[in-house]
């Protein structure tokens, strides 16, 4: 298994500002992903964070809006840029451990962002 910690857990942000969310895993993982869960909705994949290279973004998400870093096998950041109220969501980091129970993907507790 993997324990995934996210910071901040919650924040209230001003429109037009940017916020970086950090994700730390307690063990090495092969893959890391960032998801968004808008109020009352399901989870949508934003991107796959690739170690040492640019993230792979899903349709509808772009690097300028959601820059992602992954400098090593246990850490990643997601920045939500130039925020608007529509960006108010839970942002979740998830990871696929290198060792352990097959292809189970684990999730962090989420970062609840409210943009005002």
């Amino acid at each position: 298994s993997a324990v995934i910690s996210q910071k901040p857990s919650r924040d209230i942000c001003q429109r037009g500002t940017s916020l970086t969310i950090q994700c730390q895993v307690d063990s090495q993982v092969t893959m890391m992903f960032w998801y968004r869960q808008q109020p009352g909705q399901s989870l949508t994949l934003i991107a796959t964070a690739n170690q040492g290279s640019e993230a792979t973004y899903e349709s509808g998400f772009v690097i300028d809006k959601f820059p992602i870093s992954r400098p090593n096998l246990t850490f990643s950041t997601l920045t939500v840029s130039n925020m608007s109220p529509e960006d108010s969501s839970i942002y979740l980091c998830s990871a696929l451990p290198m060792a352990g129970d097959g292809n189970t993907i684990y999730f962090g507790e989420g970062s609840w962002l409210t943009v005002v």
């Binding site: 893959m31 992903f33 998801y35 909705q41 399901s42 989870l43 949508t44 994949l45 796959t48 792979t56 979740l92 998830s94 696929l96 097959g102 292809n103 189970t104 993907i105 684990y106 999730f107 962090g108 507790e109 989420g110």
Partner: protein
Amino acid sequence: AQSVSQHNHHVILSEAASLELGCNYSYGGTVNLFWYVQYPGQHLQLLLKYFSGDPLVKGIKGFEAEFIKSKFSFNLRKPSVQWSDTAEYFCAVASKAAGNKLTFGGGTRVLVKP
């Protein structure tokens, strides 16, 4: 591309009733299937998963799910629910061909009345 459909958006039932949540996926290759639960105000937790082998999978808290390949289904069941099972339940599918990315269904909100 893989996709997941959960047919029930909201379910309301009384304690001790049986629960079955439908999940159908769309993908022709080998898949891994998951059910996650999100209790009010809490983060996502894994309930159970299917990779291979026995198609009847048992998870935590008395939940089980059955993989029926011919129907592309992975329905979640619990014989007797408790008030504490009030939560949102998400079915998800992942495949190596799709880069192990999880695709989630729309979720089913379950309310168990005491």
